[in-house]
Amino acid sequence: MRSPALALAGQVWQRHRLGLSICAGVWLAVAVTALFTPPMAWGPGPEDGALRPVHFLFLFGSFIPVIAFVICAFIFNRDGPLEATDSAFPRWTFVLPVRTPTLVAWPMLQAAAMTAGVWVAWDSTVLRPVGLDLPLVWPAALLAAVTAWLQALSWTPHPVPWLRVLTLLLVVAAVGLIAAFGMLEEIPDVIWVTLLAALIPLAYGVAIVGVAKARRGDTPEWTWPVRVWKVIRDSLPRRRNEFASPLEAQAWFEWRVRGIGIPFAVAVFLIVWVPIFLLGPRSIRNVASPETPMLGAVAGELTPPGLFVVGVLAFLPLYMGLMGLDLGGVLYKGQWIHDARAGCHPFVGVRPLTDGEIVLAKMRVAVRCTLLSWGLTFAVVGPTLGLTGAWRELAAAPILNSYSPWEVFVGLAAGAVLLIIFTWLRLVAYLWVGLSGEPRLIRSLAIIVNVLWMPVAYAVWWLLQHPAGVTTLQAFAVTAIGVKLVLAGILVRRLVHRRITAAPFAALCLAVWVIVAVGLITVVSKVLPGEQVPLFGVVAVVILLMPLNGLAAAPLVLAWNRHR
């Protein structure tokens, strides 16, 4: 007879077979690519074999979603929202004839082994062959310790809702700091491993106590924070005006259901990103030296302030593309990525609104989300750069020497506006996915947006190295642009024919799109050095990345979903 403990051990693998197989597939693909890439020397120059940031991005970047998935799989966060007070440990196991220490030991051991193993596998088969000599042992130990602590905290009942989010964030932030610290100082492996290994039994102890409490039903509850919060919430300015139109009412609804999460996530990102900048090395020149080639390779020409700014600017539009998947959702119960049901929720479906109006309401919410997110970003980044004096370093960048202060200012302002509009476009680009109400489509696109852009970027970069590759890329880009424009024409014609949009309005939208595209092309080509980046490349990238068909398809997809 199989012991319950063993059955429990296999539980995680059973539940997440698809996800774990995809992770294994990703690892295989990356390892094979690494096999065929010759080992590269470290160096900032463009000679053969030089490690470029893009390598680092691809090889290391594919590691991050995999390890994130593995950790999430072992935390059991699917069994309940993490912000609740209850333990995330599966309830049904509490009635098994297994003692709590055994119950807890299996998932913890497996998680520790898996996370450490993933790092070891990545380092030895992907990074080492390519020449990235990152340490093997202590990151594995660090990952194992972190996972153990994340598990322990998730499984402990917390007295107040949302407190767990705070504690988990603290753990993650601590990890970031320790990792940065470890990379900069050269501490012998032995000390690392002992320190981190000591953390794991501690986590195990905390987990046992926590799960035992959950098993007994002995969850502490502080009612006073909830009461205080209720008083605050009820006294906050509440919308008391009537809604002027159905569109406004629906926009309010979409904002409350899905819109609030987006600026919140941006805030969380800033909370993590800004301290890393503040506590990290002030100037790359102090740190980048022949002894730390890795940092030099990653940073390239950028200074820390530049890295900081680029990180923020790159994060927002990329992340918004992902959030658009959620914003478009028409199933408002449950987590969007776990929704098993297909279709449109009747509460939305029965509203006397046309399909176009529902999409418009979501687009209005997208505007609010974009403005709030960027407002937050500027409000945080500006003072950070100003107060730390880092703006001086940015202003001293060689690229700005050829422009007058007035031109720089106008360029920055125009760039900011274009960036905001571009972010909004990325946010609404994937509305059609959520509107389709097909959970499999949503999930697969989330994976694609998260993961697959890296190998594509790598392939593009690799092709750019060879002249034959360049011509193939050009041909491919031209076909892609052609297909995109033809498809756009078909969709817009369909929209006007079905009377979802009026023809003048459609013409206006297209005109705006063209203006924004031209604006972006001008700004980007002015900023990037012309010899290295051809105009055609900029045009192709901008046109292909600017969302057009997603927007046009949204009302049509909603019509299909809403009236199945």
Binding site: R256, V257, V350, P352
Partner: protein, 307 residues
């Protein structure tokens, strides 16, 4: 009260030759149904017979794969605003957003319906005993049903659609729902379409009843006519019979030994004669309640399907 009502002779809901297939399952099989104006139309049928599918077609949540659906003379899929702004609906799941407060829900619903009356909504809220500042997820199931009823009634819809509204609710809430149906129908020109398992309730308030079983309409007639045509005849035989005689027109036989009861759907007189021809004598003839008619009919369809 209600703007631009089409001519009074037109049915409010006209479903013609609608079939619906979900992968392999045939949920609706060539259904034709007409809901006249100003009636309470009851839709009854066993679980999984297609009631909810039919109602979803009326609301425009499902597109007719064959045939046509017209509500107020318009297609609910092509004209959601025109149709849905005149329909109030309450479904079995009653999925209202839990995070909303009652007053927020009322404020949210208001701009969608031109006939929304704040005074009436407030009157209903007080009559149902709903506190405005309470979140819907903190309410009991019965109170949640009352909230759903409130936002369905507050704009006095021309058509009230209820899909198993009383499922799992206590008698007080069920009374509120029935009361709402009666008040709706008491206003000129308004119609109610509701599906239910609770045949007692259907018998109380319905003018017109249609039964659907395995996707087909079994009967569709005014309630008085249904009650008049279905009768139970008790036949007494001189010697005990192990099996009742096979007579045409009998929906279900019941009994044992000497006395057998037959439920018939039409032509009780002819059946009487046929029964007497087999040697029995008809000792009693009864009216039937809707419950018994339903059970007899459902059994008859099942028996026919097995043959």
């Amino acid at each position: 009260m209600i703007a631009d009502i089409p001519e009074n002779r037109e049915p409010v809901v006209a479903i013609r030759d609608v079939s619906r297939r979900f992968r392999t399952k045939l949920a609706l099989d060539d259904v034709t149904l007409s809901v006249p104006r100003g009636v309470v139309f009851g839709l009854v049928g066993p679980n999984g017979s297609g009631k909810t599918t039919l109602i979803k077609h009326v609301l425009g949540l499902l597109r007719a794969q064959t045939g046509s659906v017209r509500v107020f003379g318009r297609d609910p899929v092509a004209d959601p605003v025109g149709v849905l702004s005149r329909i109030g609906c309450l479904t079995e799941d009653n999925d209202l957003p839990g995070w909303m407060r009652v007053d927020e829900l009322m404020r949210y619903m208001r701009p969608f319906y031109p006939n929304w009356s704040d005074a009436y909504a407030e009157e209903l809220r007080q009559a149902f005993g709903l506190e405005p500042a309470v979140r819907i997820q903190e309410l009991s199931k019965g109170q949640r049903a009352r909230v759903g009823l409130l936002v369905a009634l507050a704009y006095r819809p021309a058509l009230l659609v209820l899909d198993e509204p009383s499922a799992g609710l206590d008698p007080l809430v069920r009374r509120d729902i029935l009361g709402a149906i009666v008040r709706t129908i008491a206003d000129e020109g308004r119609t109610v379409l509701f599906s239910s398992h609770l045949l007692d309730e259907v018998e109380r308030v319905a003018d017109h009843v249609a039964m659907i079983h395995r996707g087909r309409i079994v009967f569709d007639a005014p309630l008085d006519e249904i009650r008049a045509t279905h009768r139970r005849l008790t036949v007494r035989f001189p010697e005990p019979r192990p099996r009742p005689p096979a007579l045409a027109g009998v929906l279900a036989w019941e009994g044992s030994g000497r006395e057998w009861s037959a439920v018939c759907a039409a032509d009780a007189v002819g059946l009487r004669a046929a029964a007497e021809a087999t040697g029995g004598s008809v000792v009693a003839e009864h009216d039937l309640g809707l419950n018994e008619i339903f059970v007899a009919r459902a059994g008859a369809v099942a028996a026919r399907a097995e043959v």
